[in-house]
Amino acid sequence: MFRFFTAAACAAALVPAALVPAAQAEEFSWAVTTDPQTMDPHAVNSTPVLGFLNNVYEGLVRRGKDMSIEPALATSWEPIGAGEGWRFHLREGVTFQDGSAFTAEDVIFSYQRASSPEADTASWFAPVSEMLQVDDYTVDVLTHSPNPIFPDSIANWMIMDSGWAETNAAARPDKESGNHATLHTNGTGAFRMTTREPGLRTVLEPFEGWWGEAEHNITRAEMTPIQNPATALAALLSGDVDMINPVPIQDVQRLQGNPDVKVVQGIEARVIMLGFPHEADALKFSAETEGNPFADVRVRKAVAHAINVPAILRTIMRGNAEPVNQLVSGAMRGYSDALEDAPAYDPEAAKALLSEAGYPDGFSFGFKCPNNRYLNDEAVCQAVTAMLAQVGLTATLDAMPVQNYWPELRADNYDMYLLGWSPGTFDAEHPIRFLGATPNEEKKLGSWNFGGYSNARVDELLPQIQSEIDEPTRQGMLDEVAQTLQDEAAYVPLYVQPLVWGTGSNVTLTQRPDNFFILRWVSVN
């Protein structure tokens, strides 16, 4: 029904006289699907929270329009000695939005706060042994072992004023019952928050005392959560909001024909893949099959050959996504250019591999899939199920809301599953640590490796990748891991998820693959 409506709405919007875009100069409003659950930059490590707070708070470093790391509250940084850590030189003359000065003390405080057990961001600081204040504008970060990517990994670590936090009894984040920092902010960023009504609206205004040069022309910006995609689309078409994220994939084409709105498309950092039960002794949802066929690499490769990814992208994603051959997209640091393409769609090869593995007639199994986590996830799973049936693999699809999905995967209730992974550090090391490494609770490795994939060489290379300073050597090791994961079909990577934003035709903005909406790059004409 919603689809019917959007079709009708868009058709109507094609009539130019029917629409008067509300181009209120320099006031900007945008709609999001998920309201940030907190305004505390250390309490929840999620895209809605960190993406929004990037407009208010700042880190020592930040990501530019092309995702590259650039100076923010630190003006420069260099390694200490032979990889003992990093020295950051802080920007002078920066003030927080309440007027207090930014110094090294705030950095140390924010480190203690963000790495505390109460914080959700503590894992960013796992490589850090100590953080020292050298003087008011110099900070040393000492690491357990050489850490070449540390500056890259802290772009979302936001600096909070120590005095403000302590005065307001918010020295530690409080996820469960909240505190002052849950509803109030005091950052150094380009915008300050003037109104916060959780679930209703959040208002930002430019911070006059910001150290940077303003690129935007916004005087006031209001964010409203709108969960219903049809309502969000109507709000954009009627000019009630200037930007929505996301635009439903099926409406993209029709919006593109509308002169009053623009569709801004890109590729997200998220790779969608299939996962397998590597460790299981037997299938959970098969009547006839004994043992676990997915433990055989030939079966996993057969799955890869059986799936026609270009067809999925053409039909379900309407040509908005890109195929991928590894666990990260090409925009990420450490992407393996050397790796050959993903196994091509070849049902005959798939059948041959299955016969070789001893399943000439295929087998049946259970396929778990979320239905509200990734773009069109259930439709993709249905297509995969149909394609697998062509080579004799009878999957019973069980699609469920994501809040039921993760507990199922943790309980090993699957024979095959769909997973999306977006590397928080924008580095190819990230998925190796979470998906490729043998699960190890103590070392905090492989925490999303539900199937228990394990390869001694990958485990051996991971710490070396984490501490290798020399870029070509590091890339060589990343290439080797990517090759190993592909040879063993540890996962079957399918495609990189698209990003589709809709804006009024008078809005210019920059879309980043991390799906962060950065207000200081927006201008309204």
Partner: protein
């Protein structure tokens, strides 16, 4: 009579307890809140620790008991999603729902009765027949579709009314109202029509059939024979006698309007308790779901209790029967 009331109150309390128990038994099927509360980089230890902290490792009966224990002290817990007391959030959201429900209810009653009377008196007229046919749409179309059609027509196509939200509201301390600003009033129009349409058609059809029934009665015929004017017959005699069952239904529909606001609120992004509840389900925000469900069931049970007690006063037969008859 006191015994009757006490018995009804006790029954109501029992219903409430059972509703709560069923609700808590269901929460586990809604999903696991833990994954929403922890980021990508959580470990299995973090998950266990938080689960224990929230008491989610306990059987649902224990969770329910703890909820009741706190609830009787006025403490409904802290929202998992917002990290704020549930009672604060509910108080913040209630005005939006109550204002929407009030406007829809008033629209439904006014137009429902007026159109019902009209279609009964002009039973064979063209206008009455058109109204009757159109009213079928109100009864049969799902609320969200009506809402979306209205948005399409009046916001996207014509650009007259806002497509979502509550507009500017005025904060009166404990209450926020949209009645005092132009944008607040404009924002009320589409959602209140959407929410009230079903009730309006229901009332209209009820009034019409009751009215037709009454108009066939002997005393109406005698009233006409006495030479009373049409208006007096219709409105003094017929309508008055029509209203008894209509008022009963209206009373029962008050609860339905508030409870069914969920769908309307979702379509219009209306920031009331219904939208809050939908979001709570998506996030598995158990404290919010529990408080909302208890609130709604208290309301329904309360309305039914009041109606029961009113019957006792209105309908003398009930009193007579209870005494065993003469």
């Amino acid at each position: 009579m006191l015994a009757y009331i006490i018995r009804r109150v006790a029954q109501s309390a029992l219903v409430l307890l059972i509703v709560g128990l069923v609700a808590f038994a269901m929460f586990r099927f809604v999903g696991d809140p833990i994954d929403n509360m922890l980021g990508q980089e959580r470990t299995a230890d973090d998950i266990e620790r938080l689960r224990e902290q929230l008491g989610l490792d306990q059987p649902f009966v224990v969770q329910y008991y703890r909820f009741l224990e706190n609830a009787v002290q006025g403490n409904f817990g802290v929202s998992y999603r917002q990290g704020r007391p549930v009672i604060d959030i509910l108080m913040e959201r209630a005005p939006a729902t109550l204002e929407l429900a009030a406007v829809s209810g008033i629209l439904a009653v006014l137009f429902g009765i007026a159109l019902g009377v009209f279609t009964a008196i002009r039973r064979k007229g063209i206008a009455a027949n058109i109204i009757m046919s159109v009213s079928l749409i109100g009864v049969s179309l799902p609320t969200f579709l009506i809402g979306i059609l209205l948005i399409y027509l009046f916001s996207v196509e014509l650009g007259w009314l806002p497509s979502f939200g509550r507009g500017e509201v005025v904060d009166l301390g404990a209450w926020t109202t949209g009645f005092l600003t132009a944008s607040g009033l404009k924002a009320l129009i589409l959602p209140s029509i959407t929410l009230g349409l079903y009730q309006m058609t229901l009332i209209m059809r009820l009034v019409r059939s009751e009215m037709l029934e009454v108009l066939r009665q002997d005393y109406i015929r005698f009233a006409r024979a006495r030479g009373l004017r049409n208006r007096a017959v219709h409105f003094r005699h017929a309508l008055k006698n029509t209203m008894v069952p209509v008022i009963t239904v209206i009373g029962l529909q008050v609860g339905a309007i508030i409870a069914f606001a969920i769908i309307t609120e979702t379509v219009f992004q209306w920031p009331g308790v219904g939208l809050l509840f939908i979001n709570a389900i998506q996030f598995v925000d158990i404290p919010v779901m529990a408080a909302y469900l208890m609130l709604i069931s208290v309301m329904f049970v309360g309305i039914n209790l009041i109606v029961d007690i009113l019957y006792f006063f209105i309908d003398p037969r009930l009193r007579v029967d209870r005494k065993g008859g003469h």
